[in-house]
Amino acid sequence: MRQPRPGPESAPDLDRQASEKERRSEAAYRRLNVVLALGLITAVAYIFRTLAPSATAGIEGAARDFFTLSISVIIESLPFVFLGILVSILVQVWLPPDFLFRRLPARPVLRRMVLSLLGMLMPVCECGNVPMARGLMLKGLSVGESMTFLFAAPILNPVTIITTQQAFGWDSGILAWRIAGGFLIANLIGWIYSRHREPHRLLTARFEAACRSDEHQHAPHGKLRQSVDLFQREANAMMPALFIGAGLAGLIQVGVPRNVLVTLGSDPLWSVLALMLLAFVVSICSTVDAFFILSFGATFLPGAIVAFLVFGPMIDVKMLALLRTTFTARTLLQLTVLIALCAAVLGWGVNLAF
C-alpha cells in the first residue's frame, strides 16, 4: 500500500484517492482469494470424482443416504430460493417505492388480509418466501404484516391450489380446509404480532441492522449494480440456513424410522400430531406436498392430512433454519408452538366433525 505523498494537491483529495486505491487493492486481493479457493475446490472435486472415484466408495448405507437426501433438499430448494430473491429484488429495486403499499388498505386487519393474498401473484413456494418477506420488511412492512404474508403465501398460491386440487379434488373438502386454515392462521399470527410492543426485538440483530441501514441507503449506484449487490447479500444470508436445514432434514430422515409415524394412523388426535411431525421432518415444498401426502390418504384421517398441508408450508426443519436468518430463536419457538396448536386444533376439529 502506497502512502499518499505530500504534493501540490489538497490533502482531502489525496486521502480520498488513497482510500480508493486501498479499497481497490483489497478487492483485488479478495478476488484473488476467491479464484484460488475455487481452483482448489475444482481440483479436489475433479480428482475424487473423475480420477479416483474409489477413494469415496467407503461411504455406504446410511451415511450415503444422508448425503443423497440432504443434497436432494438443496437441489430442489435452491432454484426456488433464487426465484424468491429475484422477485424480492424486483420489488425492492425496480418497482416504485410505494407500488405495493399505495394499494394496500389502511385498516390493519384488511391490510393483512390483502397481504395474505399476495402469494396469488407470486407463485413462489415457502423457501422463496423468506427472502421475499425480508425484502418486504426492508420496504417498510411491519413485522406482523410480513408474517401474515410469509405464512399465507405458500398456501394461498396458484400452484399449491392446483396441485392440491389435482391430488384431492374439490369434493373431499381437504382443499377448502387447507385454504381456509392457512388464511385464518396467517391472519391470526399477524394480528398477534402486530400487538407486540417492540416488534424490532423479534428480529435478529443482524437483520435489524440491515433494516436500519437500508433506510438511509439511497441507490449509491445504478439499479443493476444494486440488484447484483442485493442478490449476493441475500444469497449469502440464505445459503448457510438452507444447507444446515437440508443437513438436519437428511439426518432426521436417516435417523427416525417413518413407520413409527405411520403406525399412529387412525386416531383422531394422534394421526393429526403424527402427520404434523412428519411435515416438520420431511420439509417438502408446499407446491408439491399434496402429491406426497396423497398416498397416506388411505392410512390417515382427513383432518390429519389437512393439518399436514397447513402446518408443513408454515413450519418445518428447513423453514426454521431459513427463518432463523431473520427472526430470533425465541420468536421462532413461539411461532412454532402457536402455529402447531392452531393446525392441531384445525385437524382435530375436522376429524371430529366429519
Partner: protein, 245 residues
C-alpha cells in the same frame, strides 16, 4: 461461496444428466434456468466487486450484537461456516452422485404410500400388462382385483432386492423408489417374489430382473396372499433412472 457450490453442483449434475437422481424430471428445466441466472448474477457480482462499504451485515457484525439470542463470537461463526462449506463441497462436489440405497428402503414402509391410488389402479385393469413396471404390479397386488386377474399373466420387473420382514428366508421384494417431487419423499414399492433360499445367490440391495407368473403364497398368514413365483432371475446393474416418477 455456498451458493456457488450449489450452482456448480446443479450444473454439473445437469451436464452429466444426473439431476434426476435428486429431483423429479419436471423440475429440471426450471432448476437449470435458475442456476444459470444465479451463475450469471454471481459472475457479474464478482466482476463488479470494488468497495464493500455498503455491506451492513459484514461490518455491523461484532459490536451491534445486542440480541441475547445470538451470543456467537466471530470465531465460532467462522468455524461453523467453514465446516458448512467443507461439508457442502464434500457432499455436493466430491462424492459421486448416487441414488438412495436399499437401507433407506428398509426404513420406510413398503407399498404404503408409493403405490398408485385405487382409481388409477382400476384404470390399469383395462390396459395391456406387458409394459407394467414395479409400481403398477405392486399397486395391483395391493388393491387386488382377485386371483383371476393374475392367472396366466407374466410380469417382468427390475429393481433392487429387499427382504420380506416376516418371511425373509422365502420371500424378497423387487423394489423401486417412487419419487413425486425430490428424493426426500422417495417411497419404496415392491413386487414380492417367492423363492426359498434366495439369500444364497443374491444379497439385499443388489439389482435384479425377475420374470415370472403369479401364484398363491404357500404361507397363508403372510402379508402377501398373491406373489410372484419367479421362473427366472437375472442379476443386473442399477439403471440410469433408478426411480419411478
Amino acid at each position: 461461496m455456498l451458493s456457488l457450490i450449489g450452482i456448480a453442483a446443479t450444473l454439473w449434475l445437469a451436464v452429466t444428466g444426473k439431476l434426476e437422481l435428486y429431483i423429479h424430471p419436471r423440475y429440471v428445466p426450471f432448476t437449470v434456468t435458475m442456476a444459470l441466472i444465479a451463475a450469471a448474477v454471481s459472475v457479474a457480482g464478482f466482476l463488479m466487486t470494488r468497495e464493500h462499504s455498503e455491506h451492513p451485515d459484514e461490518h455491523a457484525d461484532p459490536d451491534t450484537h445486542t440480541d441475547p439470542d445470538v451470543p456467537k463470537p466471530g470465531r465460532l461463526r467462522a468455524a461453523g461456516s467453514l465446516l458448512t462449506v467443507i461439508a457442502a463441497v464434500l457432499g455436493l462436489l466430491v462424492l459421486p452422485p448416487s441414488a438412495l440405497t436399499a437401507e433407506a428402503a428398509n426404513q420406510r414402509d413398503l407399498n404404503v404410500s408409493g403405490t398408485l391410488g385405487r382409481h388409477q389402479t382400476n384404470d390399469l385393469l383395462t390396459e395391456e400388462p406387458s409394459g407394467f413396471n414395479v409400481r403398477d404390479w405392486a399397486s395391483l397386488l395391493r388393491y387386488s382385483p382377485g386371483e383371476a386377474y393374475f392367472a396366466g399373466k407374466t410380469a417382468t420387473v427390475t429393481g433392487f432386492i429387499t427382504a420380506e420382514r416376516k418371511d425373509p428366508a422365502n420371500v424378497f421384494y423387487v423394489t423401486r423408489f417412487v419419487v413425486s417431487c425430490c428424493t426426500v419423499d422417495a417411497q419404496p414399492v415392491g413386487v414380492p417374489v417367492h423363492q426359498p433360499g434366495w439369500q444364497e445367490n443374491y444379497k439385499p440391495g443388489s439389482w435384479v430382473t425377475a420374470t415370472g407368473s403369479f401364484g398363491l403364497n404357500p404361507n397363508q398368514d403372510s402379508t402377501n396372499p398373491i406373489l410372484m413365483t419367479a421362473t427366472q432371475i437375472t442379476s443386473t446393474t442399477e439403471p440410469e433412472r433408478p426411480y419411478i416418477h
